[in-house]
């Protein structure tokens, strides 16, 4: 058994290094001055750590605008996507209707299109509709791309919830809507949060649409804005600044995951019915 533990430990370290080394490198970079990053062979840890990069980035109005756009767009897209997905998944899990299979497969088909293939048509359409370079111009495609996954995840969760719970609620005097809101939604919470996290990640990290469907900092999100960090010297990209921006946009993600992680508790329905 001891040998086994050793192997597990070694594998664990290997995976951790593999995953976290780039992150550590970016954090380390963000504390280095431009002189150090421009040096031919920079070492791993900064020689003299400086907070100058953070000061600069937080003084940069373009970055702050992009950050605001990112938050707004990602949160709204997540909220709408989760609300629609919850209602759709509930219908799919509970009702028998014609074309149920078609709806599910179609939803999956949407997710199969590569984003790049849609950039051209979307660009033309959005300019015609006046959605180019606006928040809704990004929120709508983000929602469409994340809905299928959210619907599938939530439908699976709803199927797990015994129908009797809803019927019990109705007998107890609840309307269908009350039964849904007071019994089903709380029980599907882990699914709702899973869907919310996945949607938020997608919207927060998305780059291709963000750079193609925006033209000013009025609606450009952080990943797209980062590509405009050129710095004064075309031969010397501002690595420190880029790394700092990356760290700054990663922090909210980590916080959100930590908050939601506590909500994603498996087996919440245990005890509802005799197992």
């Amino acid at each position: 058994m001891k040998k086994n533990n050793l192997g597990t430990g070694a594998g664990f370290v290997l995976i951790l290094v593999w995953c976290l080394l780039p992150v550590a490198w970016i954090i380390s970079l963000s504390f280095k001055s431009p002189e150090e990053t421009a040096a031919g062979s920079p070492q791993f840890l900064p020689k003299d750590a400086t907070l100058q990069n953070y000061r600069d980035i937080l003084d940069n109005p373009d970055f702050l605008d992009a950050l605001r756009n990112s938050f707004g767009i990602a949160l709204i897209a997540t909220f709408l996507s989760v609300v629609f997905a919850t209602l759709a998944a509930y219908a799919i899990a509970r009702l028998e209707f014609r074309g149920k299979r078609a709806v599910l497969s179609l939803a999956l088909a949407i997710a199969m299109f590569p984003v790049v293939a849609l950039v051209g048509p979307l660009f033309d359409m959005w300019r015609t509709f006046g959605l180019f370079n606006t928040w809704p111009g990004l929120i709508i495609p983000y929602m469409s791309f994340t809905l299928p996954l959210a619907i599938w995840t939530l439908a699976a969760f709803f199927r797990e919830i015994p129908w009797e719970l809803e019927q019990a609620a109705q007998v107890d005097g609840a309307t269908s809507w009350q039964a849904f809101r007071k019994v089903i939604v709380p029980l599907a919470a882990p699914g709702v949060f899973t869907a919310a996290i996945l949607t938020f990640f997608f919207a927060w990290n998305e780059f291709v649409l963000a750079i193609s469907l925006t033209s000013t900092t009025g609606s450009r999100t952080v990943p797209a804005q980062l590509s405009y960090f050129v710095g004064p010297d075309p031969f010397n990209p501002p690595y420190g600044q880029l790394a700092t921006a990356s760290v700054v946009v990663t922090v909210p993600i980590i916080i959100i995951v930590l908050i939601f992680q506590r909500k994603i508790v498996a087996g919440l329905t245990s005890g509802a019915v005799k197992g």
Partner: protein, 421 residues
């Protein structure tokens, strides 16, 4: 509180198969009514139609003086305990019980009073802050009951509430439910497939088979005067013995010999050819322990197996049955969710009986309680209609022979389909 009146209720599913067919049951105010039958007899469907979770194809459902056919469950003011309890896992026991009150927008003080009262009745006081997941089966069951009694519902509906509990707990909860119902005096409809629950709990029992009401009577009436072969086989444990019988004058020829019956019974069964005699196990006794003064017949038979239980002993005596009776008995066994391995007589002997396996014993039988059934229709020919409650098949406008034929056709199709798959 209210009476529940079901009039000619029919439930047909999409494929046109009637899960409940023309059932009329009048549940009196405060009565404990049992719906009983083997699986697939439509008893749960009927209950769900009362509460409104299932649409009614035709017929009238009247609760109190309101026709509720088209009312949503929430507007019927009934409380229901589900088979798997259906507790809300995200709420504490307290909030589970309070749930119906919260929906009714009751003020907090009243909610607290009522929940505390319910939890006291059900001895849940120490569990009020726990979640259902941390409770035992019996405790969950009590929470489900608490949720029902906390409201001033017009009636309680139970859907096999004890089937998930182990045998000992089931016995305790059974008496608990009976006590609670008597105390609250509330109209109750209780669905079960267990004939013991049906016999012990019910003021009256409705026996259903394949969506058709077979008999509606008190437990005693059902036991003493079953309306047909199915009810006779379903009520009682161990079940009633069915033997091929030929009536000649006032004597009945059974596989073990001739016994005498009363002239009145003999007259009703005269000229019918081969019949099925139904005799309950406790109508038999070891002849050596019977008081000589008790009236009855005796016969000798070889005992195959004896099960001695202390207060009583069950002896098994195999016999041969002619094919037409055998077929009917096998069909009956299928209707009862069982399977006949062999035709045998089960006799209940006194615990002091010394009869052993392999003995050629002398058995005494009390024929006054014997019933005679028509093998073709299953109809009880010797029924005492004055003490048999309601037997819809015997009422006017019904032709039992035709119904039986239709039923067995359905059964044959089902069997064929089952075998085909």
């Amino acid at each position: 509180m209210a009476a529940i009146d079901m009039k000619n209720i029919v439930k047909k599913y999409g494929d046109g198969f009637p899960a409940v067919n023309d059932v009329s049951i009048d549940v009196q105010d405060g009565e404990f009514m049992i719906l009983v039958g083997p699986s697939g007899c439509g008893k749960s469907t009927l209950l769900r139609m009362i509460v409104g979770l299932e649409d009614i194809t035709s017929g009238d459902m009247v609760i109190g003086d309101r026709k509720v056919n088209d009312l949503a469950p929430k507007d019927r003011n009934l409380a229901m305990v589900f088979q798997n309890y259906a507790l809300y896992p995200h709420l504490t026991v307290y909030e589970n019980i309070a749930f119906p009150l919260r929906l009714a927008k009751t003020d907090d003080k009243t909610v607290d009073e009522k929940v505390r009262a319910a939890s006291k009745t059900l001895e849940l006081d120490e569990h009020l802050d726990r979640k259902p997941a941390n409770l035992s089966g019996g405790q969950r069951q009590r929470v489900a009951m608490g949720r029902a009694i906390v409201r001033d519902a017009d009636a309680f509906l139970f859907d096999e509430p004890l089937s998930n509990l182990d045998a000992k707990l089931r016995g305790q909860m059974r008496s608990e439910i009976a006590r609670l119902q008597k105390k609250l005096g509330i109209t109750t409809v209780y669905v079960t497939h267990d004939q013991t629950e049906a016999m012990t709990l019910g003021d009256r029992v409705a026996v259903l088979k394949r969506g058709i009401l077979q008999q509606l009577a008190t437990p005693r009436e059902l036991y003493d005067n079953p309306g047909n072969l199915f009810v006779a086989g379903f009520i009682g444990s161990p079940p009633m013995n069915f033997l091929p019988a030929k009536v000649e004058g006032t004597s009945v020829e059974l596989p073990f010999g001739k016994v005498e019956i009363s002239a009145e019974k003999a007259e009703r069964a005269a000229g019918r050819g081969l019949l099925i005699a139904g005799i309950r196990p406790e109508s038999f006794e070891d002849a050596s322990v019977v008081d000589a003064s008790r009236k009855g017949s005796t016969f000798r038979a070889k005992i195959d197996v004896v099960e001695w239980l202390g207060n009583t002993a069950y002896a098994y005596i195999p016999f041969e049955a002619p094919p037409e009776v055998l077929e009917q008995l096998q069909q009956l066994e299928r209707d009862l969710d069982g399977e006949t391995l062999r035709t045998q007589l089960v006799v209940s002997l006194d615990g002091s009986s010394r009869v052993a396996e392999g003995d050629d014993a002398e058995i005494w039988v009390d024929t006054s309680k014997m019933h005679l059934f028509d093998p073709a229709t299953g109809e009880n020919l010797t029924i005492d209609t004055a003490n048999a409650g309601r037997v819809p098949a015997l009422e006017q406008g019904h032709d039992p022979a035709q119904e039986m034929a239709a039923e067995s056709r359905v059964a044959d199709e089902q069997t064929a389909a089952a075998e085909g798959s």
